[in-house]
């Protein structure tokens, strides 16, 4: 296994600060609208806690944060909180050789096909690695 390499993903126009490191920047008014989490989001939350917990010890929570920080500004800004964590879980389980990229891609297609067959609209988009 190769150790993941360290990268910095600086925010454009902000003199080299990393994309997630936003203290002091200005993103406009705070949207205080609240909503319940979707079921898939609650599951992401649950999997995250279980995987970083002592019983499973798949990876440290710090590794999850690092994975998210490595997405770069554009992806960071345009994805929602649980989209970030879902992608991080996927990337980390592959990095830790728990699952393979190939089997995840294959399963994603099976999941799409299954829901399409059940009459649901399903996005064809992938999630960047």
């Amino acid at each position: 296994m190769t150790t993941p390499t360290r990268k910095t993903m600086p925010r454009t126009g902000a003199k080299g600060r990393a994309a997630h490191d936003v203290g002091g920047l200005d993103f406009g008014p705070i949207d205080r609208h609240e909503h319940d989490l979707a079921l898939w989001e609650k599951r992401v939350d649950a999997m995250l806690i279980l995987l970083v917990g002592k019983k499973k010890g798949a990876f440290a929570i710090d590794a999850m944060r690092r994975a998210i920080e490595d997405y770069g500004q554009q992806e960071y800004d345009r994805t929602t909180y649980y989209e970030k964590w879902a992608r991080a879980i996927r990337n980390l389980v592959v990095e830790q050789e728990i699952l393979t990229r190939a089997e995840i891609e294959a399963r994603m297609q099976e999941v799409r096909d299954k829901h399409l067959k059940a009459g649901r609209k399903v996005s064809k988009a992938g999630v960047p690695w």
Binding site: R6, T8, A18, D21, G23, G24, R66
Partner: protein, 107 residues
Amino acid sequence: MTITAKPPKPRFKTGDTVHIGDRKAVGHCRTPWYLRGKTGVVASIQGTYHDPERLAYHKPGLPSQVLYKVRFLQSEIWPKYKGPATDHLEADIYEYWLEPATEERRP
């Protein structure tokens, strides 16, 4: 040669004036950009923890590192801070991001 265990002994104590390192981080770092190069005062010692900058890369992050709660004057962090001079900000900073400072400052 005698080898003795040396658990991390805090380099700083409450009330010490400290400078935050002004270097760039490579990879995971929990010292925010807006505090780099700033001067603060140790408000408390928060304990010792495995190093997050290494945990992030699947290393155990040993030896454990001392964590400090550092208090800053807002007017020092932000040149154009709009609030009163008595407003402060605190952050939890690891020892290896701190340097001793010579000038005294009240917390």
